[in-house]
């Protein structure tokens, strides 16, 4: 086997994995940056995205339509949850959020089981993306290349959204000083609802993208939520660039770890996180410990 070809395809593999993890991590970190809360249900929103995507593909017959419909629905559900329930908790300490979103995780997992059943659901990749290409004589799925591209596009889009748009400006301002933003005449509560919806919607996009690779299944949520926490802790809570770096680090450790140390692959991710925390308790780009 050609070592260079192997190395390149494994790196591409890791990059496509990083793209998926980034969709999760950036949503969680945005929500944390604004609200100082940790959304335990983030993995459940990711899973919901995969299932809604599956249904949207079946109704419309188009993967692209599901890519638009699923994040909108998941995001709307997230925003509604924030409006209905989370909003009442801002005066309480952070543990209340963690517990309420844990309860939501249980409810969503069970509701998805009732609505879609226990069997894992196959979502085919769109025809134009379902083949393989040869990179240095190694076969590589086109869909994973597409994921890398999608990850880059979304990362740039979020970055530009935060830097260039009025809502992005409000989001950054609110994360620095919510009371001041409120005093200047912006309804911070609306910003919070919007951010929670956007974060959940991003997890939903991740779910749609992940479904053709891993099938939509009930085990998605716990795996996703823990990977996401690890990414955000490594990168630093509330840091956009941190979530990108965290996603890349975790993806490379997962892909190469699984290849070289199959028995230790899971442990490696946690060891990476512990190493980062011992050196920088607030994460690589985090502000607070």
């Amino acid at each position: 086997m050609d070592f260079l070809g192997f190395l390149v395809t494994q790196c591409l593999n890791a990059l496509s994995q990083a793209a998926l993890l980034f969709f999760l991590g950036v949503g969680l970190t945005l929500i944390f940056g604004i609200m100082r809360i940790v959304n335990f249900a983030h993995g459940a929103f990711f899973m919901l995205g995969a299932y809604v995507g599956y249904s949207a593909v079946h109704v419309t017959g188009s993967f692209w339509a599901s890519l638009i419909a699923a994040p909108l629905l998941v995001g709307a559900f997230g925003a509604a949850f924030e409006l209905g329930i989370l909003r009442q908790l801002y005066r309480r300490d952070h543990s209340a959020f963690l517990m309420v979103t844990f309860g939501l995780t249980l409810i969503m997992g069970e509701a998805i089981r009732l609505l879609w059943g226990v069997a894992a659901l196959e979502v085919p990749a769109p025809k134009s993306l379902s083949g393989i290409v040869f990179i240095l004589d190694e076969p590589f799925p086109i869909y994973r290349l597409f994921l890398i591209g999608a990850g880059i596009v979304v990362a740039i889009a979020i970055w530009q959204f935060l830097e260039r748009t009025r809502l992005g400006l409000l989001i950054r301002a609110t994360s620095q000083n919510a009371e001041m933003v409120h005093a200047l005449g912006t309804d911070v509560r609306l910003v919070r609802s919007a951010v929670f919806g956007i974060g959940c919607g991003l997890a939903g996009i991740g779910g749609v993208f992940a479904a053709p690779l891993v099938t939509a299944s009930l085990g998605m949520a716990p795996n996703a939520v823990i990977d996401t926490f690890v990414i955000v802790i490594i990168g630093g809570m509330g840091s956009f660039a941190g979530s990108l770096i965290g996603a890349l680090l975790v993806a490379f450790v997962q892909v190469f770890g699984t290849y070289y140390f199959p028995d230790l692959a899971l442990a490696l991710m946690y060891l990476l996180m512990l190493a980062v925390l011992v050196i920088r308790p607030g994460g690589l780009l985090g502000k607070e410990a």
Partner: protein
Amino acid sequence: MAIKRNSLLFLAICVLALAPTGLPPYVMTLLTEALILGLCAMSLDLMVGYTRLLSFGHAAAYGLGAYAAGNLLLHTSIPLVFSVLLAALFSGIVAIGVAWVCTLASGVSFSMLTLAFAQLLYAVAFKWTSVTGASDGLAGIPRSPGPFGITFFQGRAGFYYLVLACLVAAFIFCRSLVQSPFGAVLRGIRENEAKTLSLGYNTRRYKIAVVAISFMLGGLAGALYAPFAGFTNTELLFWLFSGQVLIMVIVGGAGTLIGPVIGAAFFMLVSNMLSSWTDSWALFFGAIFILFVLFAPQGIWGLATRWRSLSSTG
């Protein structure tokens, strides 16, 4: 008031001690399991309720105790009682290392780290077949007799008394702990860690100590579960179990020690009732949990004591 509460507790213990004489075997089995879970929830309360260390990884304590006791009972002839205590000690010692790492962070990051650590153990349990039996778990865990040929704890009632004795001893231990100067420092950390630190207390050392004690008692619960069920599996280390124990603590009433035990019993009762007419009991439990966090953060025991103090003052 304190005397009245003590006599109420004494009454409750007496009722529990008489339970084997009147209850059918099926109910006794459920009650034993409820008391084991109650012990586990009470141990978590030391962290959650008294120190505000929100651990999402208490399954680690339970699982460590269960697997340690399982291995001791399967591979050595150490009597049941000593095996259980050794396993609890083992869990507490491991926890010192865990706590050293987890207390590097605070707040939300602490919760995430405890979760990650428990998941790490879960992953290890799947791979380390010779010790954990991987996905099959350990089966046929005996209740080894002795010492001095005592076989009392092997029967259903005898084992129940062992569990009850552990729970009562742990409760007395925890209550004197939280009433001691050590407990006052824990409450200081809960209310304002920076202030406690500036008063000259090394808060991190206190946090490590309380995590170790909490894991030791949680490990005791797990160590009792292994010979109770006769098997262990990786479910005991899964994050879902950590979440369930946390639900028991919050629903029962955090920071009260007795509340989490009631929460565990409530959890057993409701999940048994719900599972008899629906598969989706997790759906209802999630909703009950959210309602408690929103409207009754003080839990069942908190509601009960408030109602009692209201009615006694008129």
